[in-house]
Symmetry: C2
Subunit: 235 residues, 2 copies
């Protein structure tokens, strides 16, 4: 009998696990001893937070990130094929969204390994529901291009798609480039396009607000180094 | 001082709350006495499940569904403007996705009411991460058209978009029409298009599998009356 591949949620920032990780999900997480982690250090710290006496030295950690090769994936699959349960865990939120966790999941489906997703915080989905923007049709675009010209082009493209399909467009940026992204959005988007900025989700510093590009122009928020999710909808 | 508008998660099916509702979210939910519910009966049953002694008679329930008019929304906003906290709760999963909860959220942003999304189960996001399909770019399309010809056209349209944008396309169906939807997908999609079918998520009967349209043709599953989420990706 093969093991189960759990998809384990991770906290989005400094907060108590009971805010965003269900009790049974905490129990399952600390019952495992095989972890496929985007960041091993973050994962160890989290396991210690969930259970002070968690046996870290007796556990197995495998790195699953952008650099992971296909032959590493086959190696990682072995404990599951031998009957051990394992869990994929990303640096923040749910694994498989905006990170390379899905590679191992795809292989698991091929090998008839059971895949079990567990509930936890997802910054894009919390931002979406709190935005008040269209929740019947939306798209997640991951990270936008870094360079100014390509970024402007991409913003135009997704704003156009938003208008055509009446589809909320969600995207992210690494925290130290948030202000540049906001500047480009204010420059590029239609004044009446609705923009939601959701900052520090699930933490004490959480701040979520939706208003028109025009209104944002006069509010001038500082987003530097604050984890943020953006969503636009062109009416 | 105005109240906070919480976005409360609801169980996806018959399961223990600790599987998918964080402890603090359970506490916040049972601390409220104003509920904006898609389905009042389901909400009452859930509150009773969370806390056997919950004061249902001392609580206020407002219906927030497709039929809710704009003037009803203004009325619903009153307790929040008076300083009471309130929570939106849908029939399953997170409010504001595939349901009309976002109307009240939008009004809250206009009235400077704080909106606080809480973590809980979302069938489309759990299906997505467990699918192993592209989690860097994806779109949620809600419910597809009912009629055969329109449905076929819509499936062709989103399959084409999936290929063009390398975007996983997620959609749902009311459980008693699942088999017809599957039949149409098998007829319409390219044999190599990957299809994930995720059934009864978070319950003991959960079943999630991704394979090609060709492979599905020979597996012939019965999806009748089982809550399901579908996702396709055309390579």
């Amino acid at each position: 009998m093969t093991g189960t591949l759990y998809l384990l949620p991770m906290l989005l920032g400094e907060s108590h696990p009971d805010i965003s990780i269900p009790g049974e999900v905490q129990n399952i997480t600390t019952s495992l001893s095989h972890f496929y982690a985007e960041n091993i250090k973050t994962t160890r710290r989290y396991l210690r937070k969930l259970d002070k006496s968690f046996d870290i030295d007796g556990s197995h950690f495998y790195v699953l990130n952008k650099k992971t090769k296909d032959e590493d994936l086959s190696e990682m699959m072995k404990p599951l094929l031998q009957g051990f349960d394992g869990g994929i865990i990303s640096e923040a939120g749910l694994p498989g969204i905006g990170d390379p966790g899905s590679k191992l999941v795809r292989l698991a489906h091929k090998k008839n390994i059971k895949v079990k997703p567990l509930t936890g915080p997802s910054s894009f989905v919390l931002a979406l529901v709190a935005s008040g923007l269209n929740g019947q049709s939306f798209a997640f675009n991951g990270y936008l291009p870094v360079k100014g010209q390509e970024l402007a082009k991409k913003i135009q493209e997704i704003e156009k798609r938003s208008a055509q399909l009446k589809q909320t467009q969600i995207f992210m940026e690494t925290p130290y480039r948030n202000n540049q992204l906001l500047e480009q959005l204010l420059k590029t988007c239609h004044p009446q396009t609705q923009l939601c900025i959701a900052v520090n989700i699930t933490t004490d510093q959480e701040n979520i607000l939706t208003q028109s590009i025009n209104q944002w122009k006069s509010s001038n928020p500082d987003l530097h180094k604050k984890p943020a999710v953006f969503a636009i909808l062109k009416a």
